[in-house]
Amino acid sequence: MQERSQNQIRNFCIIAHIDHGKSTLADRLLEITNTVSQREMKEQLLDSMELERERGITIKAKAIRMHYEANDGKVYQLNLIDTPGHVDFSYEVSRSLAACEGALLVVDATQGIEAQTLANLYQALEHDLKIIPIINKIDLPSAQVDEATQEIDEVLGSSDVYPVSAKTGQGVSVVLEAIVKEVPPPKGDMNAPFRALIFDSYFDSYRGAVANIRVVDGHVKVGDRISMFSTGKTFEVTEVGTMIPAQVSLDSLSSGEVGYLVASMRDVKDTSVGDTIINADNPAKDPLPGYRKAKPMVFCGLYPVDNDQFPDLRTALEKLQLNDASLVFEPETSAALGFGFRCGFLGLLHMDIIQERLEREYNLSLIITAPSVIYEVFTTKDSVLEIDNPSKLPPTQEILEIHEPMVKTTIITPDNYVGAIMQLCQDRRGTFKNMEYLNPTRAMLTYHMPLSEILMDFFDRLKSSSQGYASLDYELTSYEKADLVKLDILINGKPVDALSSIIHRDKAAYYGRSLAKKLKEVIPEQLFEIPIQAAIGSKVIARETVRALRKDVLAKCYGGDISRKRKLIEKQKEGKKRMKSIGNVEIPQEAFMAVLKVDDND
């Protein structure tokens, strides 16, 4: 089997929007090729992490090998490489695409193409992948196969589509034949020095970092000394294999094949996605194209509610980092929140996932400050500072200019919501770039927009402006100068650093008022009156007051009530412990995220 010629290998991935049926289709492919029997089939095998299942998204790419006897009588090795389905992981997506020669484009017949699908599709086209368009869910009564076909035609210039129902299996075997016939075989050089692309990696507590690789040239076997092109670090290969879908170790992996590689690598930083693995004793001269270090775009502070949990938080972050090279963190101190970490993420979803895992898997109770982008601050001292935390912004008199990251934002929406969405984008300082129609009723809008505006609840607002129909994709384009100011929040007369934000001057007054109002809503009444102020520099621009608590009493407490009522007050006290005490004021966790929830229109 090792000697199977590359002509009988097909490497492909599936491009689909969340819920459009990627996992279900993958399941059918595995079933039809007898890779996994129906009985063994855990629903949607590819999404194994609990969180992924809950959110219906695939976070980490994986690969599964199938053997398929085609109509021509030959047995083909089909490698299905899974891709993450979210904008935050677009770099990972691009590496998965680079490992393939073909892609199944899955479009939900009831929904049409979504923005992210399109973004991934364009990436796939850039990688010269052969696209096999599939219209899924044709079994549903609401399926609109013609409209979906028209959209695909608009985008690909071909209406040659495969209608399937991944759920019932209808049409799926035709797809397998299409993979064999249409996706080109790998074109690597069997005899050249070994080169492989890392498209995914994860940490295994017994074996260290495990790299999922696509061998491009040559071959690799157990005992080989390998080297990482970007770092030059060398390791000895202890295991190679493939997943069918359980891991099966093999003697070697050769040109064109997809599999995993273990080499006593301590953590996933040694196996950066996109890096090229070469043979240390017979090194290839050039790396495979496209490597770049994952760069976090979104930052926030993570603080334990209980300061004693700081070491636990560090340990938890270190453990998560073992498996997630794109997560970065460093300790920081906040006057209000004590010791914590400033953490960098690829995007909002990535941030959400990490927070949720910290709280769920590591049982930490956290305060999360509002996410921030990296600002470039040009100072009077002729230096350029990268500021990822609003409280670190230098005093106004030292600032010459502030530049902020801009993104190209693509939104696909049914055309009746275009007006509302354009209004939203304009409110968010977006510059209109383009609008085109994918079909007579679906438009694609392109805006040039500050990334910080997207972090502020943009996605939820987009969804509510379009009754949930619009989809979003964005990519970083440039840094641009903007008239930004720092907005401070004072509670009980004291500035709370963790509540500071950087905001456009034109929006600051309005935003300050809304934020003060929002904080008044989320901070519970306490024994003392609590003044809340929003200020730019020394100028107070908004003021609200949480009035003192009026009533919190148990009218009756007799012999039968004592235990119960004591427990009630104990519980109340527990609730307080989940809040952060700043001065004499108890501030609930959500207050620190209130910055995000400031309404645009009231």
Binding site: V553, L554, K556, G559, G560, I562, K565, R566
Partner: protein, 369 residues
């Protein structure tokens, strides 16, 4: 047999009709249920040897127990645990006549707690009470007639759709009657009550607290001194039995659902009448351990209960310490903000809640928990 010296509480879990706001353990009895229950109660009484200090027969509505059965109960209690420094029974104005009251008085009951709740007929109707304002007033007068000199009434303020005006009328009537004690309770909306199911529009906190302060004002002006968050008495008419609870002393609870605190353990009796009756017949245990009281728990409870009282807390309740020894920061903060006041009683440094603190007592307490 346990040898204790304590307050004795007896629970009668029966009512003719459940009031809308009530979440106590009570129901309308099935036929013969009262007889069976009283029988079992008599047997439970025999299980304990107690030197009773006070007696409190509460409910439910103890006064729906037929005279003959009530007579047997009281005699039994008296024989087993008496004599008492104070013997109270709760009565519903809709269930007592002159004879019943006379019987109670003659059996040695010296304190009546009458569930009046309001002297406004509209409000009584909303609450689902079975009596009118007139009947309530008559009940007080009749009790006085048969010889009771220690009469307490319960009043509820803050009921949905009531106003400060109707409350003032009720208070005016109350202070005109020959009573010595008022329990003045703010309504608490409890899970599972009829009232909760109605999802009523509750009064605002401001209105609620306004009513509370108004009640304090009127009652104190008429010589009813506030000695606990919700209790007011003419001098020397404080309820001795309830003070046992608030001082976190020992008490024995008899009957279904009754709680006892004996030594460092709090017990709770079986709550179902059927199981209770059967267990008593079988000679099985009915007292179930609810909680072991450790030193820190007792300290918390002493603070929680002691701060309900006008006499507050001092070294006696705090293991020899003063509150500011134990919680210097909280005491400084709360005193500074006018929630806590220090006073001197017989040369001893004590703390109590200020008038401002009473309506927000739980929040104040959380500083000591």
């Amino acid at each position: 047999m346990t040898m204790i010296k304590s307050g004795v509480y007896v629970h009668i879990p029966f009512c003719l009709k459940k009031c809308a706001y009530c979440d106590f353990l009570s129901h309308r009895p099935r036929s013969l249920e009262v007889n069976e229950y009283m029988e079992a109660l008599a047997k439970e009484i025999e299980r304990f040897k107690v030197e009773g200090q006070t007696l409190f027969i509460g409910g439910g509505t103890p006064s729906i127990v037929p005279p003959s059965l009530m007579e047997r109960l009281i005699k039994k209690l008296d024989k087993q645990y008496g004599p008492f420094l104070e013997a109270t029974i709760e009565v519903n104005p809709g269930t007592v006549d002159l004879d019943y009251l006379k019987m109670l008085y003659d059996l040695g009951i010296d304190r009546l707690s009458i569930g009046v709740q309001s002297f406004d007929d509209d409000t009584l109707k909303k609450m689902g009470r079975i009596h009118s304002s007139n009947e309530a007033q008559e009940a007080v007068l009749k009790a006085c007639e048969v010889g009771f000199t220690n009469i307490s009434i319960d009043l509820i303020y803050g009921y949905p759709q009531t106003t400060i005006k109707t409350l003032e009328e009720t208070l005016k009537t109350a202070i005109s009657l020959p009573i010595s004690h008022v329990s003045f309770y703010g309504l608490q909306l409890e899970e599972g009550t009829e009232l909760m199911k109605e999802r009523p529009q509750m009064l605002s906190d401001k209105e609620y607290v306004g009513m509370y302060y108004r009640g304090m004002e009127v009652l104190e002006a008429s010589g009813f001194m506030q000695y606990e968050i919700s209790n007011f008495a003419k001098p020397d008419f404080e309820c001795k039995h309830n003070l046992i609870y608030w001082k976190n002393l020992e008490y024995l609870g008899l009957g279904v659902g009754a709680v006892s605190r004996l030594g460092k353990v709090r017990y709770k009796n079986i709550e179902s009448v059927l199981t209770y009756v059967k267990s008593i017949e079988d000679g099985a245990r009915t007292l179930l351990v609810e909680e072991q009281l450790t030193a820190p728990v007792i300290l918390k409870e002493n603070i929680m209960l002691g701060l309900r009282l006008k006499e507050g807390i001092g070294p006696n309740e705090l293991g020899g310490f003063s509150l500011d020894d134990l919680y210097p920061e909280a005491v400084a903060l709360l005193s500074g903000a006018g929630y806590l006041e220090q006073f001197n009683q017989l040369g001893v440094n004590r703390y109590r809640l200020t008038k401002k603190a009473l309506p927000v007592m739980n929040s104040v307490l959380s500083y000591f928990f």
